[in-house]
């Protein structure tokens, strides 16, 4: 079984008293190191799928297996552990804490998990995204691309199995977007980390292994640019 398995997943939200289907009978499975682009119009269910994959939300029906564990059956404590150990999040608006320095932002998930080597690991992650020279700076002293690289370093801090990126290049110019996508590609290739990226960018789809096209909460197309097998 792959690192992430979604079996007959549906997700309904209740808006003003009537249910709205955000996802409908989605069946997907991704392998370790697979770089996946989720594409589709706004409101098609990309972000919902990312939230389910990251155990931040739960399906109305169906199962989400993260590294073989059904997220719906976990206690709050166990869910927190899963998020800490297996999942990293990247956001469109970077979401760095403005009161923490670059290195402290990267240290944050490590320290939340009680990791004693937080500073060392954070420095490693920063040098990985080529931001180690900026470690003592504050977020407002960085450019958008730099902030996103720090956010990626932070997402990688705990060595997650899966990286969930919601429009990671949405706030960046084309050149910077290219650099970020290249970085994500490298992470998938060298770190054996599965990346699920929600994106509107056509350029982004050129860097990925798999393209999942969503429409009105349903998977309407799945294109595997690169063939992945279990245990690759």
């Amino acid at each position: 079984m792959g690192i992430l398995h979604l079996g007959h997943v549906s997700k309904d939200y209740v808006t003003e008293g009537s249910p709205v289907a955000a996802l409908h009978d989605v069946n997907l499975e991704f392998q370790a190191g697979e770089f996946v682009a989720l594409v589709g119009r706004s409101g098609c269910g990309k972000s919902t799928l990312l939230n389910l994959a990251g155990a931040m939300d739960f399906p109305t029906s169906g199962t989400v297996l993260l590294d073989g564990v059904n997220t719906s059956n976990l206690s709050d404590f166990a869910l927190t552990q899963v998020r800490r150990e297996k999942v990293g999040f990247i956001f469109q608006s970077f979401q760095l804490l403005p009161t923490l320095s670059v290195i402290e932002n990267v240290e944050l998930p490590l320290m939340l998990a009680g990791n004693k080597q937080a500073r060392l690991l954070a420095s490693e992650r920063l040098s990985w995204v080529e931001m180690d020279t900026y470690s003592s700076r504050m977020p407002y002293q960085l450019s958008g691309g730099q902030m996103q690289r720090v956010a990626i370093a932070r997402a990688l801090a705990n060595g997650p199995s899966i990286l969930l990126a919601d429009e990671p290049t949405g706030n960046l110019d084309t050149t910077t977007s290219e650099l970020i996508l290249a970085l994500l590609r490298r992470i998938a290739d060298q770190g054996n980390t599965t990346i699920l990226m929600a994106t509107h960018s056509m350029e982004a789809t050129g860097k990925v292994d798999t393209i999942v096209r969503l429409q009105d909460g349903r998977v309407v197309d799945l294109t595997r640019v690169t063939q992945f097998s279990e245990g690759r």
Binding site: M56, D76, T80, S93, P98, T99, E104, L108
Partner: protein, 840 residues
Amino acid sequence: MPALALFYRLILRPLRQERARTALTVLAVALGVAAVIAIELAGQAAVGSFRSSLETLTGSANIEVTAAGGIPADVFARLATAPYPLKVHARIEDYAVIAGKVKRTVPIVGIDILSEGTLNSAGAGEAPEGASDLRIDDSVWLTSGLGFKRGDSIHLLINDAAADFTVAGVVSGQAGEAILMDLAPATRFLRRGGRLDRILIEAPATHSIEEWTELLRKDVPDGITIARQGTQTDENRHMLEAFRWNLRVLSYVSLAVGAFLIYNTISVSVVRRRFEIGILRALGAPRVAILGGFLGEAACVGLLGGVCGIVLGRILSEGAVKLVASTVASLYFSSRPAPIALTWEYVLLGLTMGMSIALLSALGPAWEASRVAPIEAMARGRSEHQARVHRWRMAAAALLLASVAWVASRQDAVNGKPIYGYLCALLSIIASALLVPLLVSVMANVTTGVISRVFGIEALLASRILAGSLRRTAVLVGALSTAIAVLTAVGIMVGSFRETVVVWMDDILQADLFLSPAVPGGVDRHPTMSAEIPLQLAQLPEAEAVDQLRNYEIRYEGLAATLGGMDARIAGRRRKRSFLSGASADKVFRQLIGTDSVIVSEPFANKHRTKAGDILKLNLGARVGAFRVLDIYYDYSSERGVILMDRETLFRYLPGAEPNNVAVYLKPGVSVEDGQRAVERVLAGRMVAVARNGALREQAIKVFDRTFAITYVLEALAVFVAVTGVGSALLALVIDRRREFGLLRFLGAADSQIRRILLFEAGLLGALANISGVTLGLVLSLLLIHVINKQSFGWTIQFHWPVMVLLSALSIVYVATILSALYPARIATRLIPIEVIHEE
């Protein structure tokens, strides 16, 4: 109308939507206003009816004649027979206790019952009902408020005797309570020896009061005082001004703490709505509309807080009036609180206070909001950055203000009020608040590593969030630290005062047994005992020495004081009274014997700027005596001031061998129990209370604690406002930083970690506020002890750290501050991360 609609949509609706936060801010204002209103109402009621019974019985008299120790009867005769169209009325005034289940102390007034119909019913022009009864020796007339009816029997305690009287009539139309008695029995029961306490004169309007006074002065001896009726009462009320001022200032502390919190609330609104402000500005809203909107928000909070504060203040005033009245009675003069009257003036005061404090506190953040450029509105963190870079400038301003405060502390009182002392306190509080941003950032920088290592990531995050929100943190720490500073300062001042009084009592209370009439005395009431008592006690084999004290009410330079006569021979040997000059008690008291010399208490010396060697001219009875001041002694028994002389000297001027207090020194080896039994045998049948040394001290400390109870209440209120504010601000912080809390959940933070972050924030806020508050409190306590107290009351207080009291109070405040974070923490853990991140 569109403006109103927009005001509702953009300002009022958000206020309504965030009910908890709005309610907490309104509560902060309401408590501040309530404190002010309660103290104003209580102060007014406590002194408003000062001797109201006596005042209302003056009828239409417009001139009063008084003399220390009483007016000789011939003076009355001279005035009554003077060739002027005057109506002259004699008065004897004292207090009696109506015996019963609840003992009530009521003014007793001796008047010429048969001839004074016009005065008796306060201008009603009729003699009291029953006045025609002939057996006036055991008859009394009561005001209707006392609840007796004609023919009832009434048991009265007067001085050290008890007697039964018949209620001959009830006088209606009188405000307050009083017992009327004919002059002859009053003279006898009250031991006046033919002297009068007051002569009231109705003078026609053919001359001015000043002219009449001048005219009448020729007919009376030099020692007699003739003045406009009510002058003494006015002077006494004036004497209370300093006390009321200090109380008033303390009540304003809660309001000031509330001001910090309104500033914080409006600042939060501005920060949170920067984006909205940007949009509004882009859509064409002028700066003045933004300014007006936020000021309008503050005005709404102020108005609501003002209304609630007035209601709460009226409720609190019921308790406050008892405490204030008790202090007035202990320190100044006998009074019975008048009914509390919430007039329109006070309603207006409450509303003005609430609105003004809200608008003034909101001015800064509202102005900042109006300066927001649309393009900048999206730039997060900018305003915090500005606050951070200004911290050195603010520290420099703090230094400047502290210098001005120091200069202010060196200035003299203005008309007996420590105006510069208050200015110094205010400047110190502002200077301390300006130093807070620097303190926070230094603390955050210095302690980050330690906090992180010892308490983990939650403490680090809390510290960074606080340092990152420097402006808001500074305001919160400022508010809490002001409340803690006042708590500390007043705690140290009261604790030091208490300790000073305890040490002073050790010095002056040397006797084993103390006797006083069972009728409760007061600072201006001096019930007497039979003159035989000390003589009989001196014969007891158990007694080694018997000291006695006789006090009189006296006025010096228009202010009330106590004139006391004691046996200087015994006092010199027995008392350890301390003098400002450091001279030995024995030496000073020896110099007093048989000479026209006095010693004065420290408050008297401060009030009248008296020093050793000065000559005091005192009106004693009909004479004026000149007395040299030998020394000034420490005294904490009365704020009004005391002049002490040898009994022999006193009785050369004034009559009355009956003492007010007697102190018995037992022979070595005689137990207190045996001594008390022997003394009580002598006192059999007399209404005299005997107190042992220890019991008297205990009682004195109880009175002391009761005196300062009101300050504890006001402090507690200020602290409550501040702690409420911390809770409110943390709630605002959670709402404002919900994105960050949501993000932390995305990054793997557990509920317990989020909760700990909030608790650490509250803990750090509390710690910072405690550090700056205690430091500021120490400064304020020195100011209170050495400047404000000295200028207001004239007491020397030895500095003393009431360690346990302060530690307990500060611990309670600290724990309360941390607990105030529980509700915001609960809100933070209930945030749905996906929603709050999605909002961005």
